[in-house]
């Protein structure tokens, strides 16, 4: 990366990268997951998640601000010095790979449940991986441009859900805070899975134009947008389905749309699902891109072969893993756990170390200014 002039993206593109990365596989089942623990108060859990993430995003921003010219992996190398840094980067690569595998698996399972029951998983997996590889190989700038224009689809998703408004029953989210605050806070954990893309703010921070303050504003608004979108989805599904019913419906959003019919077209859920494929692809491509970036930092080489290898290994792992419910559940839990470690603790730890190690230097820098 350093040899070339850095590809710079605008703040608007940054906004959409965050949004598109965060909104992904989770959207369809999130209301169900939240409901599983916090019952009809799942939306409060979501808000709790969103708020606590905001603090974490602030900390991530602090870290990125301290090293404005380095990307996240370079920061790791610098803060932890070369070899320990490389070790952590490798760990990150493994983390990103496992998230990617999870995304592909959830994607495959969803399609096999809803539309393509007998299509073998490897076909879906290969399509997803190859299309995203094609995208990632074109670089950050192209990714940013594409995500910006694909965001139109998000509005189509919202638009499709608006049709359910006539059947909503506000009664279903009452009484508020019935399930107890402990459950609500526990539910926040479920919400986190849908937000995991937030790490991308840290990874590509250095490629964004503008002042640190403005960049944080972008992060903030992107986070707000995603939260509003999720809140909308959750509230619509919570009020469409009765409290008992939602416990049975794993993908409330799709199920809800299934029963609507237009004069020219029936079964909106199929269209929703098709558009959702794009959302999944954008999340997956970002993770693949981050994996590729990590690999490049480790091997100090710029080559398409590394990303291709990463993509192929994701493909192979996903095929061998398969999407049986139990295993997938397990992988999901592992990824959430890793998400806490890699998305929250390690960056904060890095921030502390960085603060300790580079304090003097930074002050020196300030004096010279």
């Amino acid at each position: 990366m350093s040899s070339q002039s850095k590809p710079m993206i605008s703040r608007r593109q940054f906004f959409f990268i965050i949004v598109q990365t965060e909104i992904g596989v989770g959207v369809l089942s999130m209301p169900y997951d939240l409901h599983g623990i916090a019952k009809q108060d799942g939306w409060i859990s979501l808000l709790i998640t969103a708020f606590s993430l905001l603090i974490i995003l602030f900390l991530l921003w602090m870290l990125a601000k301290r090293h404005p010219s380095l990307n996240f992996f370079q920061i790791l190398e610098r803060v932890f010095s070369k070899w320990p840094g490389k070790f952590i980067i490798v760990a990150y690569i493994i983390y990103f790979t496992s998230v990617s595998v999870l995304i592909v698996l959830l994607f495959g399972r969803m399609l096999s449940l809803w539309v393509l029951p007998s299509t073998p998983f490897w076909v879906l997996s290969i399509l997803m991986v190859s299309v995203c590889l094609y995208l990632t190989a074109s670089g950050l700038k192209i990714i940013a441009r594409l995500y910006t224009s694909l965001s139109l689809f998000l509005f189509i998703l919202i638009f499709l859900m608006v049709f359910c408004f006539s059947e909503l029953e506000i009664l279903y989210i009452l009484p508020v805070a019935q399930s107890g605050w402990i459950n609500i806070v526990k539910g926040a954990n479920e919400g986190l899975l849908s937000y995991f893309g937030f790490i991308v703010t840290l990874v590509i921070y250095t490629y964004v134009e503008g002042k640190p303050k403005d960049k944080f504003k972008t992060v903030f608004w992107a986070h707000c947008f995603v939260t509003c979108f999720y809140l909308f989805v959750v509230l619509v599904s919570f009020t469409f389905f009765s409290t008992k019913e939602i416990a049975l419906v794993q993908e409330p959003v799709l199920y809800m749309l299934k029963s609507f019919q237009f004069p020219i077209i029936a079964r909106i859920d199929l269209f929703f699902l098709s558009i959702w494929v794009v959302s999944v692809a954008t999340s997956f491509a970002t993770y693949l891109f981050m994996t590729g970036m990590g690999l490049q930092t480790v091997f100090q080489k710029q080559s398409s072969i590394l990303v291709t290898l990463a993509a192929i290994s994701i493909f192979i792992i996903s095929i061998f893993f398969g999407f049986e419910s139990e295993r997938l559940e397990l992988l999901g839990n592992v990824v959430v756990f890793l998400g806490y470690a890699f998305g929250i603790f390690i960056p904060i730890f890095t921030l502390c170390i960085s603060a300790l190690r580079f304090k003097a230097k930074k002050e020196g820098g300030k004096q010279s200014e």
């Binding site: 074109s138 594409l146 699902l273």
Partner: protein, 518 residues
């Protein structure tokens, strides 16, 4: 990062280098930039002999001896206009002596014989005289020009009905007449080692991005090939990505379209012998603009343009969508349509995928046959193909009538695009989508469209993003993309061509304020 691209480009660059190295070993590399050093001799016969040996004793090279063999005119009788020769050379010296020919007003002189051959080949007549090394030459080119007519393939309802012709000078003249400005720059290049085709690039200095101009010049001078026939040749040599199905330069035969694009800061490339002019850099949506849009009320212009853009989706997606519906997701058909649809396809023997392929290929056959045949017969083909085959095929129960509707609609939609190149591309893109739809239904189509979207986003035309103003998004430029807002509001040039001067207009409806204040 451009991994794959870099990989490929790296490879091809290596290939080029090898080729070039090989070329350098050749004894002579004729190139217009490096004139040969064969200067003329004082001996008339030596000069003539040299000319004849260089021109391989061709039969139409004529020598006309004057002044008892002490002077001679050399010319290609097939290239020169004898009347012009009469007017320029013989009429003025009618009274006087042949020796006055070099002093005639239209004459020019040189001494290099190889250069002289070039002049000869471009329709000049050379005058040699004994005891002198100077060569005098006159331009007496015979030009047999088509008159300026409306281009058949780019008709408009309103607006200029002029079109380019095969003569590059006439073409530049048509543009100059439209842009009377001193910063309109025309640069000539000679391309094609054997054909020596005249290429011109035309742009507005001060609006066009100098970087892009430099790129185009660089790429044109890099062309090292024997023959350049038409812009199609040049296009493939200078475009960024040859493996893309999308045309990256706009082909047009309309001077008004060219001059409008030049005013937006783009660059036109024209070639002698072809009425088609290339416009670079182009964006995808430029192919959807027609000069007609600007001659209508802006509501209608917007409406027509939206229809054209919808036709893009129909052209690439409709057959795929239909196949996905009838072979994967027939739940999507609304209740009231179920029975009609079912009755239409119930007894068809082939799967929809085969049906669609057969029909799409039949349409292509009819189209191709219609173009190649003389126009009265072409119409017959249209009738035979469209009506007779279409009807018979349905009656025979081979193809369902719904499929006929779908394929016909697709074909019509693909012809709506004002550019022939893009229209062909669209029809080609239908095929992969049909296959994807036949394998994976909607999911397949979605992946196909995503792939196309990525490709379009990735594509660049002379360093300018091809899919602008969608990706990268430029809200300001959308006003002339999906809609056409009133002209007086389009006061800024589109950003995609990197114009060095953004503002195209100041307040032009000032009078309204003035009138209202009265």
């Amino acid at each position: 990062m451009g991994f794959f691209k870099k990989f490929l480009v790296g490879k091809s660059e290596q290939g080029n280098k090898q080729e070039k190295a090989f070329e350098h070993e050749l004894p002579q590399k004729p190139h217009y930039a490096q004139p040969q050093q064969m200067s003329s001799s004082a001996q008339l016969s030596e000069n003539i002999d040299y000319l004849f040996s260089q021109c391989k004793q061709t039969g139409d090279l004529k020598v006309r001896a004057l002044d008892d063999g002490r002077a001679a005119l050399v010319f290609y009788e097939t290239l020169v206009d004898h009347e012009k020769m009469q007017k320029k050379i013989f009429a003025p010296i009618e009274m006087g002596h042949v020796g006055r020919i070099p002093d005639l007003p239209n004459s020019r002189q040189m001494t290099n014989l190889d250069e002289a051959i070039k002049k000869l080949l471009s329709g000049h007549v050379l005058y040699f005289d004994e005891d002198s090394t100077r060569i005098t030459y006159f331009d007496v080119t015979a030009s047999f020009n088509r008159s300026v007519e409306e281009p058949v393939n780019e008709k408009v309802v309103r607006g200029s009905h002029e079109g380019f012709v095969e003569n590059i000078k006439t073409n530049v003249n048509l543009i100059r007449k439209r842009i009377e400005d001193k910063s309109l720059v025309v640069k000539y290049f000679k391309v094609g080692k054997k054909t020596n085709t005249n290429i011109a690039i035309v742009y507005m200095n001060g609006i066009a991005d100098p970087e892009i101009v430099r790129k185009i010049e660089q790429r044109i001078t890099d062309i090292s090939v024997d023959m350049v026939q038409s812009p199609g040749f040049i296009e493939e040599f200078i475009e960024d990505s040859t493996s893309s199905p999308f045309p990256q330069m706009l082909n047009t035969e309309r001077p008004d379209r060219v001059s409008a694009n030049i005013m937006e800061g783009r660059i036109a490339v024209m070639a002698e012998g072809s009425p088609t002019s290339l416009i670079a850099p182009s964006t995808f949506f430029m192919f959807y603009q027609s000069p007609d849009d600007y001659n209508m009320r802006w509501y209608t212009g917007t409406f027509i343009r939206l229809i054209r853009l919808t036709s893009f989706l129909i052209a690439i997606g409709l057959p795929a969508f239909y196949i996905a519906v009838v072979s994967f997701h027939f739940e999507v058909i609304p209740d009231d349509l179920i029975v009609p649809v079912k009755s239409s396809i119930n007894d068809i023997a082939y799967p929809p995928l085969v049906e669609a392929l057969v029909m799409v290929i039949i349409i292509e056959l009819i189209r191709e046959a219609g173009i190649r045949l003389p126009s009265p017969v072409g119409q017959t083909i249209g009738i035979v193909g469209g009506l007779v085959i279409g009807d018979a095929v349905v009656r025979a129960g081979l193809i369902s009538n719904l499929m006929i509707i779908v394929v016909a609609l697709t074909a019509i939609a693909s012809f709506v695009v004002p550019s022939n190149e893009l229209s062909t591309t669209l029809r080609l893109l239908t095929f992969p989508l049909i296959f994807l739809a036949g394998t994976l239904g909607f999911v397949g189509i979605m992946f196909g469209l995503l792939f196309i979207a990525i490709h379009l986003t990735k594509l660049e035309s002379f360093g300018v993003p091809y899919f602008a103003p969608i990706a990268p998004l430029s809200l300001n430029d959308l006003k002339d993309t999906f809609v056409r807002i009133p002209l007086y509001k389009m006061n800024k040039r589109p950003k995609d061509a990197h114009p060095t001067k953004q503002l195209a207009m100041e307040e032009s409806r000032e009078w309204k304020k003035n009138e209202q204040s009265k």
